[in-house]
Symmetry: C2
Subunit: 256 residues, 2 copies
Amino acid sequence: MISVVILGAGNVASHLYRGFREADNVTVSQWYNRSLDSISEHSNEVDITDDLSNLKVADVYILAVSDDAIAELSEQLPFEDRVVVHTSGGVGVYDLDKKHRRGVLYPLQSFTKGAELDFANVPMCIETIYKDSYPMLKELALSLGGPIQKVNSDQRRVLHLAAVFVNNFTNQLYRIGHEITESEGAEFDILKPLILETAKKIEHLSPFRAQTGPAKRHDKKTIKKHLKILDNNIEHKKIYELLTASIQKTHGRKKL
Amino acid sequence: MISVVILGAGNVASHLYRGFREADNVTVSQWYNRSLDSISEHSNEVDITDDLSNLKVADVYILAVSDDAIAELSEQLPFEDRVVVHTSGGVGVYDLDKKHRRGVLYPLQSFTKGAELDFANVPMCIETIYKDSYPMLKELALSLGGPIQKVNSDQRRVLHLAAVFVNNFTNQLYRIGHEITESEGAEFDILKPLILETAKKIEHLSPFRAQTGPAKRHDKKTIKKHLKILDNNIEHKKIYELLTASIQKTHGRKKL
């Protein structure tokens, strides 16, 4: 049985709390937050505290706090030589205070407050400085039921960056699609099956092979028509031009 | 029973052929292509021809050919005053020869050769010039089992443009994610659950409300780190900057 103390009360902390509560071989011994308000509703299930000097001894301390708070909180922990991990994609493992056996448990998924999340769909990226903390972190990550991946700092950094492209930027393209359709009173909803199909297609096909459309075909007539529609929105037009050029760079010149 | 003649042998033509063959109230009377090679394997199921002067009388003629071929093929059809539709998102309904009762049946989905496609997930956009052709085209579209939508030319135009954003451009973001992860030997595959979640999220949440991440949070530290990683790829960096600016324009200044 792995004992865990969770620190923080945001989306990741709350989802991890629930995930570990449901895991067979993990026990959440304590939940810390600097304010008890956000976690007090769980006080009948778990020991809660807002006092770092009251922290229990545990196998792992999970700092699921905002990026900016990680370094300072890790410093304030009143013990050393224990396994302390943060959950951020964008913060270095060395940002944790060096008195700890440091590591990272980075859930590569988009967490929405209140929304149900199946951990089977949450890949856990594990990074450790000392090899001997890996087996336990691996067991901990596996207990959530999703895929796990051992990564180094560079890999975690690029995964975090790539996640911004495939999640935040993709979502912004959906938003632009929404704006474009609404400009003529068309229904954005009828694009949803296409959106889902686009995401599903790459389960079995590389994005390279899955590509279609006017940019890849070098269909100048259609591209010209589209740019004309976008004449009234210079930002959308720039994004159209840049992504069209990017597709054409990836796929090369038109075959004659 | 609606009788249909399909013209063309590309992805859309092939999928429509299969879709209509399975529909209860539709019969495919004939399949035309300028070369019989691509459709000859179906000669025991349907009458096939490569001769326009042999075309049978039918309720609807569906020109599922490349955009550039639509106008000319519609001109060459040796009859008039029959319902003739094309299936393109990007071509005007008036590009069809005016001797016909013109319309468009635009399937708003990405068709991949050989891949199975469930028409339940293919919204059919219907456009007609004459009101009296609408009821039959509606019945025809409904027979495929997916959602249908009556659109005008402007709406079809923006839907086609929006489809490029949410399909081709999104797929290119996946491709960039692939390149970025591979640059450090990380696995692109562990981004796939996030990709699927991003697409599924907007089933019930607008893209506006679904947005998260460093751009929306105005998290300058993370953005700076990401741009530094992208220093070796000026195109990707430009796309990062442009989409970050787009998100920030959509979501406004950071709340203090």
